[in-house]
């Protein structure tokens, strides 16, 4: 089954596996789980692979045609943590689909391991982007680039824990009656935007490679590129941290902004982890960027962005923050858009963006600016920061937040 790697539908480069979904019978276990019988031990090779992949920041899930008790037993027998469990008698591809939705990741970020050729074929057919492997493939697969992130950050090591925090947060949200903002306050959400330092470079690089749904560049940036950008005159690199009562997500986003002399600020890279989706982070970051640029007298904020099928969430956030791409026509790469007109296509700065074209989203800084949410802490030392006590008091559960106009992080040329 070593041919699995040659699947034509796999994207060529840069795809990293974020989650492996495992079958149980004759895959994780050296035998078949029978509810009333003697339970087989873990397969030692698979248990070793689970541990090794876990140490690289890859999380595990279970897709089994067994009762949930089998998943609990497999977790105990292998010693691994499973962030999503699908135990039931439906199609495996449907189970994988639910795992993808549950974790908020795309199909090409998931590998599926099953000893049964029928199950593998069914998943391959229904979800061609999933990397489908047999247990025998796993020994080799540990050496493949898909399973070998270049750097393993603190966030990566804690990824299983972060996904489990996320599940608890989602369960709380389902039972919560109020608005999204009320829920973010209840969670004691804290978003903090800080100037990036050299210590953040590994994580910034990792985000640039791993993020797709919220990535304006559509391609990764090297560590060397981040080292060069941090501290460069006229440029600002910031990190975005997120935490709440359910856990500390660490750095979930970042951006690189160029401060033009002509009153135009350009966001060269804007990225956020999809794990932070729905938690107000991207809106807070855009609001902060807009206010920061306006506070320094810029007239226009630009976000050159790749257009691809995957970063629609970023485009929604830009549209919500009143960014527009003047003159941009339909996406000619999309099905049903064959009559596309030429658009305001920006010559890509320094390389071709993967799988799409680029447009420039712009926002005028004249007129009303978006409010900063109460849970955002911007860089300190802003001369124009409003005193925190002048703000309307939030509910008793709201976080202590100091609101700044975001000017402190600017590095003047």
């Amino acid at each position: 089954m070593t041919a699995a790697r040659q699947q034509a539908s796999r994207p060529a480069a840069g795809t990293v596996i974020k989650c492996v979904a495992w079958d149980i019978d004759n895959t994780l276990l050296a035998g078949t789980f029978i509810e009333s019988g003697t339970w087989p031990p873990a397969d030692p090779e698979m248990a070793a692979a689970l541990a090794e992949l876990g140490s690289r920041g890859i999380v595990h899930a279970i897709a089994t045609r067994n009762p949930p008790a089998a998943a609990s037993y497999a977790a105990q027998a292998t010693g691994a943590r499973f962030v999503a469990v699908e135990a039931g008698w439906g199609r495996k591809s449907a189970a994988i689909g639910r795992i993808l939705a549950d974790l908020g990741i795309s199909a090409d970020a998931l590998a599926f391991v099953d000893d049964d050729p029928y199950e593998r074929a069914e998943v391959s057919f229904a979800l061609p982007d999933v990397l489908v492997l047999s247990p025998e493939d796993m020994t080799d697969a540990l050496g493949w680039p898909e399973f070998s992130p270049a750097v393993i950050t603190d966030e990566a090591r804690r990824r299983s824990e972060l996904y489990l925090d996320r599940k608890r947060r989602q369960a709380a949200e389902r039972g919560f009656g109020g608005s999204r903002d009320d829920f973010l306050r209840y969670c004691r959400t804290e978003i903090s935007i800080d100037p990036a330092s050299e210590a953040d470079v590994a994580r910034l690089h990792e985000l640039s490679v791993r993020t797709h749904q919220f990535n304006s560049a559509g391609r990764g940036a090297t560590e060397a590129a981040f080292h060069a950008m941090i501290g460069a005159p006229g440029q600002e690199v910031v990190t975005v941290r997120l935490r709440d009562r359910f856990g500390d997500d660490g750095i979930v986003g970042g951006c690189v902004t160029e401060h033009g002399e002509d009153g135009i600020w350009t966001v060269r890279l804007l990225m956020m982890s999809c794990r932070a989706m729905g938690r107000g982070v991207i809106d807070a970051l855009l609001a902060w960027l807009i206010r920061s640029a306006a506070g320094h007298g810029a007239r226009t904020l630009e976000v050159p962005s790749a257009l691809n099928a995957r970063n629609v969430p970023l485009r929604l956030a830009l549209a919500a923050a009143a960014f527009r791409a003047p003159g941009a026509g339909p996406d000619p790469t999309a099905a049903g858009a064959a009559d596309a007109q030429p658009a305001d296509v920006n010559a890509d700065q320094g390389g071709k963006s993967a799988g799409g074209r680029q447009v420039v989203y712009r926002r005028s800084l004249a007129g009303p600016l978006p409010e900063l949410p109460g849970w955002l802490t911007g860089p300190a030392g802003s001369p124009r920061a409003e005193p925190a006590d002048s703000l309307p008091a939030g509910p008793a559960d709201s976080p202590q937040a100091s609101i700044a106009d975001g000017q402190g992080a600017r590095r003047d040329p």
Binding site: D331, A334, G336
Partner: protein
Amino acid sequence: MILDELRLILAEVTRRPELADAPADAPLFGTGIGLDSLSGTLLLREIAHRCGVDVAAEDINLDALASLATLAAFVQARSPTADLG
């Protein structure tokens, strides 16, 4: 009516049943309906699924998302399956 269908989808993806009666001209972004990137992505996915219209591919600026009325007009003009009656 496509507008009613969109209201139902919106109520579903935002998990806010009261949006099944949202006014057609209320802005989708910003205060009021407060569509964000998560609920917006789910909304566009459902529209593609149920109406066969890929709004994100055909509207780079997502101007169709100004209000339920503009979205309904956009979908209606392109949908192969829309109820035109």
